[in-house]
């Protein structure tokens, strides 16, 4: 059932599933669960000092949503993948010494070790559905093509809905399945788009958009896309719709020579990939991409040949050389405190604010977007700190988590409309 899904992708999807499920567990998942949790732990252990096993267990259980009995098998899996060294006394693990690779594929390595044990049919089906949903929302009835037994399909979809890694949205009379990991915002709008235009068309458009992140809307409207990206009229209409009502307004740059230009981006990653405290960093990354795309595709005079080279220069040298268009090009970026504009005669240069480490993160994310790569999972900062600071910090963190969990979940759009219908029903 897993069609051409390598260990890397399996590990990636498994991680997305367990993050969405939080404290929920399914009796159908065993190896999938362990794999997802192993990746989650590895992401947080990267660069960490040696940690006492009991402390790691407490952080894992109370902050990363592990169950107590899951910690040891996950740590053992990481040791088998040679991502950690363990100090043991007999069979008791005393401390964990992380050595998580920075450059090798974390997902590939963990996935390869974990898949030594075969996955059940339910796990395979779950992964296959999750993979499809990563590319585009799909109509529920289209999943029949997977060839799975109806009962199994229903079970998996039920687990997905209850576990939170599949959202079911009703649109134009059809059940549309959406992944909150990949379509973290505007899931209702995406569901409606798929119901109207078809999942295949939306998938093709989103795949194209991933390779041309930050492309100006004005060029899309004129059908001017890079070579290798061909979209027919209907598909172009879908692309334009992504800048319309129901979707988050794309970043814009106001210029004196070309008016206001909007720059289109693919769906923003959900909380599973991008913690809430990294949203501002992602916004800054999009602003950077929009700025270099402006220079690349809609310059007043001289076009940028290589947007990635400009961003790398900003990161490595700390500034972008003075030019006549910088004031308009980087104004939004400056407003987001990524840097400042300095006057140089009649021109301006953009200087990076090196005192904010998140600005370097934003540049790396922007380079990611230009390459068309998926946003990798970011560790939660408080977990990273907890693993470095020890008991006192962990206790405070656990206490805070319990307080935060008391907050009520706000109504989503669909529930709000239902409630309004109930309230106003029958009024003339």
């Amino acid at each position: 059932m897993l069609q051409n899904m390598g260990p890397e992708e399996v590990a990636l999807r498994a991680q997305d599933i367990v993050v969405c499920m939080e404290r929920t567990r399914s009796t159908e998942y065993d190896a999938l669960n362990n794999l997802g949790l192993a990746v989650r732990m590895a992401v947080h252990l990267r660069g960490a000092p040696p940690v006492d096993f009991e402390l790691l267990k407490r952080v894992a259980v109370h902050v990363l949503n592990f169950q107590t009995a899951e910690v040891r098998p996950v740590v053992t899996l990481l040791a088998d993948a040679e991502f950690v060294d363990l100090h043991t006394e007999g069979t008791t693990i005393k401390s964990v010494i992380p050595n998580i690779p920075f450059f090798e594929d974390l997902y590939q390595n963990v996935g390869t070790v974990a898949l030594a044990s075969p996955l059940t049919e339910a796990e395979q089906l779950t992964l296959e559905i999750t993979r499809r949903l990563a590319e585009s929302p799909v109509a529920r009835d289209s999943l029949a093509s997977l060839g799975a037994e109806a009962r199994l399909m229903n079970d998996v979809l039920e687990i997905g809905n209850e576990g939170g890694f599949i959202l079911t949205r009703r649109a134009r009379g059809r059940d549309i399945l959406v992944s909150p990991t990949y379509f973290g915002e505007n899931e209702a709008a995406y569901a409606d788009l798929v119901a109207a235009k078809g999942a295949g068309r939306v998938k093709k458009v989103l795949n194209a958009l991933r390779s041309i992140q930050g492309w100006p809307l004005v060029l899309i409207e004129r059908g001017k896309l890079p070579s290798g990206v061909t979209l027919d009229a209907d598909e172009l209409a879908v692309l334009k719709a992504l800048a319309g009502d129901g979707f988050v307004r794309p970043p814009a740059i106001q210029t004196s020579h070309h008016g206001t230009n909007y720059f289109l981006f693919g769906p923003r990653p959900g909380v599973a990939r991008l913690p809430l405290n990294k949203k501002a960093v992602f916004e800054a990354a999009m602003a950077l991409v929009a700025a270099v795309r402006q220079g690349q595709l809609l310059p007043a005079a001289y076009a940028i040949k290589s947007p990635p080279a400009i961003l790398r220069a900003l990161r490595d040298k700390g500034f972008i050389g003075a030019n006549s268009e910088a004031l308009e090009q980087y104004q939004q970026v400056a407003l987001l405190k990524v840097g400042r504009l300095e006057k140089h005669g009649a021109m301006h240069r953009f200087v990076l604010n090196t005192e904010r480490p998140e600005n370097y993160e934003a540049i790396d994310l922007a380079l990611n977007l230009l390459r068309g790569d998926e946003v990798q999972a970011h560790p939660e900062e408080e977990v990273v700190l907890a693993l470095r600071k020890g008991d006192a910090y962990v206790e405070a963190l656990i206490g805070r988590k319990h307080l935060v969990n008391e907050n009520p979940v706000p109504l989503n759009e669909e529930d709000r409309v239902e409630l309004e219908t109930l309230l106003y029903g029958g009024r003339t």
Partner: protein, 425 residues
């Protein structure tokens, strides 16, 4: 060892200040016509001091027991050695006739040249002032034991001489630390078939050699950190390090091209044509790990020195260190592991080294309690929701794809006997 007492005093002082130190480092003409053939002089005590901006600063220590020695001449001698090694400062320790104390103006003259000019009887005062309040007299390391590891061992095991000779003579006459980085690995590889990991003295030499390698590694880390901070882009780090290690991109491309042609001529495979350091991916991982805490990189050589001497003297491993940071120990372990792998020492060498480190790390890992009984901690109840798909009697209804809301199984708590609360989802 001549002037042994004074050298030992200075060595202990430098080591107690947290510097990496060596005694009797020979001086050759670097880049000369005859290589290291003709000894010029030697430095009595040579030290590397970590600076706050992630660099090494060289400190030269000169010792003289001859009572008639001219202090000013000795200062000028030390100054020329400092220039040769681009040293930041120096200490000249002289034994004088009590009736002929060093002139205050000579001391001032020395100070202007970056040198502390001290009479032997006054050294104790200097030592206690700089290492307030007790000085370095009780510091456990001695230069004599170090000499046993570095020199005497190769007299008993002559086939270890290439490594010993490099560590004692050639290493500190390299023009830069990038040559030190490459050549220390080369020297280790030369003796890979001679290392016996079951012998403590051999393990001590391995740790000492890894310490020399880690001096150069720290220099790389300091530069790369200032360039990229903590990059997760392999390409950037790869490019930066190759450029550094080979003295520039042009140099690297030239040498890589030559090497590639040699390998091709010898019928080698594509993988063997890469002229970067052995286990290049592991080296990138090592450097990147160091950039998480770069100031520790400049303590690794000192750490590995203590480790080497503890193994040699059969003392508890790193027991003399008072609550070392677990990150420092982790980076030390990774450095030694890489060095052993890159030099292709027997696998048991790495196993033994890692065992020693992991045992020591266990007592200082973040969250580790030094006492058996833990203080009372708040007990946190873990709540989970378990999902099992519930099947209706009518399977057809399910196949139609109607969305049903189904009751969930009750929440499980970590402690039995506690009343199950209402489901929150």
């Amino acid at each position: 060892m001549k002037d042994a007492g004074q050298k030992d005093l200075l060595y202990r002082h430098f080591r107690a200040r947290g510097w990496y130190a060596l005694t009797e480092v020979p001086v050759y003409n670097r880049g000369g016509a005859f290589g290291n053939k003709y000894l010029i002089t030697d430095i009595d005590v040579f030290a590397l001091r970590p600076s706050s901006d992630l660099r090494w600063e060289v400190v030269i220590g000169d010792c003289k027991t001859k009572k008639g020695e001219s202090p000013a001449n000795r200062v000028l001698w030390a100054r020329s050695l400092m220039d040769q090694f681009s040293a930041t400062s120096g200490i000249v320790l002289l034994r004088r006739d009590p009736k002929k104390a060093i002139e205050a103006d000579h001391k001032l003259f020395a100070h202007k040249l970056g040198i502390a000019l001290i009479e032997e009887p006054d050294f104790d005062v200097y030592d206690r002032a700089m290492l307030y309040p007790s000085g370095s007299a009780s510091f456990s390391e001695s230069a004599t034991t170090l000499q046993s590891v570095r020199i005497t061992l190769s007299e008993r095991f002559p086939r270890l001489a290439p490594l010993s000779e490099y560590l004692n003579a050639k290493a500190w006459n390299e023009p830069d630390h990038f040559l030190l980085l490459r050549h220390s690995l080369g020297a280790g590889q030369q003796v890979r078939n001679e290392i016996d990991p079951s012998r403590d003295d051999h393990m001590a030499l391995v740790f000492e050699a890894a310490g020399v390698f880690s001096v150069a590694l720290a220099t790389c880390v300091g530069i790369v950190f200032h360039q990229y901070l903590q990059t997760n882009e392999r390409q950037s780090l790869d490019y930066a390090l190759k450029t550094l290690i080979w003295g520039g991109r042009e140099q690297y491309d030239y040498i890589a091209g030559l090497y590639s042609r040699i390998i091709e001529a010898k019928g080698g495979t594509e993988e063997n044509k890469d002229v970067s350091l052995p286990l290049w991916s592991a080296f990138l991982q090592l450097v990147r790990s160091h950039t998480d805490a770069p100031h520790f990189s400049f303590q690794i050589p000192q750490l590995l020195r203590v480790a080497a001497l503890d193994i040699f003297d059969s003392k508890p491993f790193l027991a003399s260190l008072n609550s070392p940071d677990s990150m420092l120990l982790k980076l030390g372990m990774l450095t030694v592991s890489y060095f052993i792998d890159a030099c292709r020492f027997p696998p048991e060498t790495k196993t033994r080294a890692k065992e020693l480190f992991t045992r020591r790390i266990a007592s200082v890992a973040v969250g580790a309690s030094p006492i058996v009984s833990r203080p009372a901690q708040s007990i946190h109840i873990q709540r989970t929701t378990e999902i099992s798909p519930l099947r209706s009697v009518d399977g057809a209804e399910q196949a139609a794809g109607k969305s049903n809301s189904r009751p969930m199984e009750p929440e499980q708590t970590a402690l039995p006997g506690i009343e199950t609360p209402e489901p929150s989802r």
